[in-house]
């Protein structure tokens, strides 16, 4: 549905600023009906990336196709036509304060030249869909952040687009509102079969609704894959730091401080276990303890299911002797289990 091939975007030097290469050869393929997340720090190029998809930015070179149409080759008039098939929502909502919720959703339809009757017929069910049926005459100033974003979503859906672009749509919202907005996006994706590309700097957003994720750094997608895979086995430092930002992904600081005791003088060895697939739902830890007749301390971790894929990350303390003998490694040998020795404590 959305294809980017070798897209570069260079902003020319201006005054004393040097030229900026915002995108450096980004290639991306998002099939129909997928929710694709792009995660990156601010300045990594994610905003530029999403803006090339609806032609708000024209790539310096490379190709952008949406539903087979080369967006980057269109003239202004044709581009406007295409943009009507691509909805977009924004971090700061960008609603007209002079219009009610109804008026805001009606705007893209007025631009199309639809009659009042047709507009009424399309806006009302959209407001119902986003759960604002009773707020149609409210102005943005009377709405909460979450409600404003719901208006934004209804507006983006008004022209019945095939693609929805979300530019940090939940970054200005509190965690609870974020979840409800993400649930709405997931519903829209499932019910209307909409392809969604979202950009964010929050891993929880990716975890919550995305099917696939691309990690962008310094203008390039440096890692990409199904969300559960990137979660379980991040390959790059950037991806690891994003994944690590979630609760339970780091060794508790008190234990971290004690690592580094010499092996001979230590009593416990600290391990990081990453369990995916079957291993994540089975009694892996108690099995280990029983098989080797040892005590296992669970020091921290996270157990979760990402897009229906069970996943667990555990920090364990095992007797040093059982580690040095190789018994623990042998007992945990499985393609679903990744084992990493972090150090020893006295």
């Amino acid at each position: 549905m959305i294809e980017l091939d070798g897209v570069w975007k260079t902003f020319p030097a201006r005054g004393s600023d040097t030229a900026v290469e915002a995108l450096r050869g980004v290639s991306l393929h998002v099939p129909r009906g997928e929710i694709y997340g792009v995660i990156g720090r601010s300045g990594a190029g994610k905003s530029t990336l999403i803006r090339t998809i609806n032609g708000l930015e024209r790539p310096t070179c490379g190709e952008v196709r949406v539903d087979g149409i080369a967006i980057d080759k269109l003239d202004e008039r044709a581009l406007r036509e295409e943009r009507r098939k691509i909805g977009m929502i924004f971090q700061h909502f960008n609603l007209l304060s002079s219009r009610s919720a109804f008026g805001n959703v009606a705007l893209p339809l007025e631009l199309l030249g639809l009659s009042r009757r047709e507009i009424e017929k399309r806006v009302t069910p959209l407001l119902e869909l986003v759960g604002l049926g009773d707020k149609r005459d409210r102005h943005p100033v009377e709405l909460s952040g979450g409600q404003k974003q719901r208006v934004g979503i209804a507006r983006a859906l008004a022209t019945e687009p095939k693609v929805l672009l979300s530019d940090e749509a939940t970054s200005a919202l509190d965690p609870e509102t974020t979840r409800s907005i993400l649930a709405l996006l997931a519903r829209v994706n499932a019910e209307l079969g909409l392809t969604i590309v979202l950009i964010t700097h929050e891993m929880t957003v990716i975890k919550e609704i995305c099917h696939r994720v691309g990690v962008i750094d310094d203008g390039a997608i440096i890692e990409e894959g199904p969300v559960h895979q990137v979660f379980a086995h991040p390959q790059t430092a950037t991806a690891r730091s994003f994944v690590g930002s979630l609760a339970g992904r780091e060794l508790p600081a008190s234990i971290k401080a004690e690592l580094g005791a010499p092996v001979e003088a230590s009593s416990q060895t600290i391990l990081r276990l990453t369990l995916t697939g079957e291993a994540a739902t089975q009694p892996t830890v108690t099995k280990l303890a029983r098989a080797l007749g040892i005590d296992v301390a669970i020091l921290g971790g996270q157990i979760d299911s990402i897009g229906g894929h069970p996943f667990a990350l555990l920090f364990l303390g095992v007797p040093t002797a059982s580690w040095t003998s190789g018994a623990v490694s042998a007992a945990l040998a499985s393609p679903d289990i990744q084992l990493e020795m972090l150090g020893h404590v006295a």
Partner: protein
């Protein structure tokens, strides 16, 4: 005060209102599109034309930096071309309009620039044409600022209109100078000043009322509805 004098004051007030009214109307008709263009024709903007923008900016500034009394006499040939005569109340409308247009244009420009660029971007993403963005987004969103700005222009025109006596334009200012000052009739001067104060106050109040009416944001900040929120 004699009935003749009262009659004179009434006539002068009507002359002032006539000059200021027509100059505001034409000044707005010219200044609104000019101001919108100034606000949207910079590099990378909706109607990008940086060179024309620069030239118009210079013209606007030049007009605004000419003292009004100098402008009135300097453009007498042009006034004659437009109004058929260079003296009288109708002729005075020409310099008033020429002074009002760039003033209104700058005020409109400032009001339009106040509109969050995010709204323009959102409209572009919806497939809006530049003209649609002006009509459906920029003007409605800037409306309260535009109304207050035009109110400001009216008040400044009232003050300018006091100087058109130099070309026989009449009006309250002219009356104050000729009767109040030159004929030593302080009571006329006093009445002129009071009428001007009342006019300015009246226009300001009206402008603020209209601005509040068109501004849903302000209206909602000070709730008119009774009962619990």
């Amino acid at each position: 005060m004699s009935p003749e004098l009262l009659r004179l004051i009434l006539d002068s007030t009507l002359e002032t209102l006539y000059m200021v009214g027509v100059a505001t109307l034409i000044g707005t008709l010219l200044g609104l599109p000019l101001g919108i263009f100034l606000a949207t024709s910079g590099q990378g903007e909706l109607f990008a034309a940086p060179k024309l923008n620069g030239v118009l900016g210079v013209v606007v500034n030049a007009t605004r930096s000419t003292p009004f009394i100098i402008l009135v006499v300097a453009i007498i040939p042009f006034t004659r071309l437009i109004a058929g005569t260079s003296i009288g109340t109708t002729a005075a409308i020409v310099p008033l309009t020429i002074a009002a247009t760039p003033f209104i244009a700058r005020i409109v420009e400032a009001a339009i620039r106040e509109v969050d660029y995010g709204l323009v971007e959102a409209s572009l993403a919806m497939g809006a044409t530049p003209l649609q963005i002006v009509r459906k987004v920029l003007i409605p969103e800037a409306l309260p600022g535009l109304v207050l700005g035009i109110t400001l222009a009216v008040v400044s025109l009232l003050s300018n209109s006091a100087m058109v006596g130099a070309v026989g334009g009449g009006g309250l200012g002219d009356l104050g100078i000729r009767y109040g000052y030159q004929r030593f009739m302080p009571e006329v001067m006093l009445v002129v000043v009071i009428v001007l104060i009342v006019l300015v106050q009246g226009f300001q109040t009206l402008g603020e009322y209209v601005a509040r009416r068109v501004n849903r944001r302000l209206r909602l900040v000070c709730p008119l509805k009774s009962g619990p929120p």
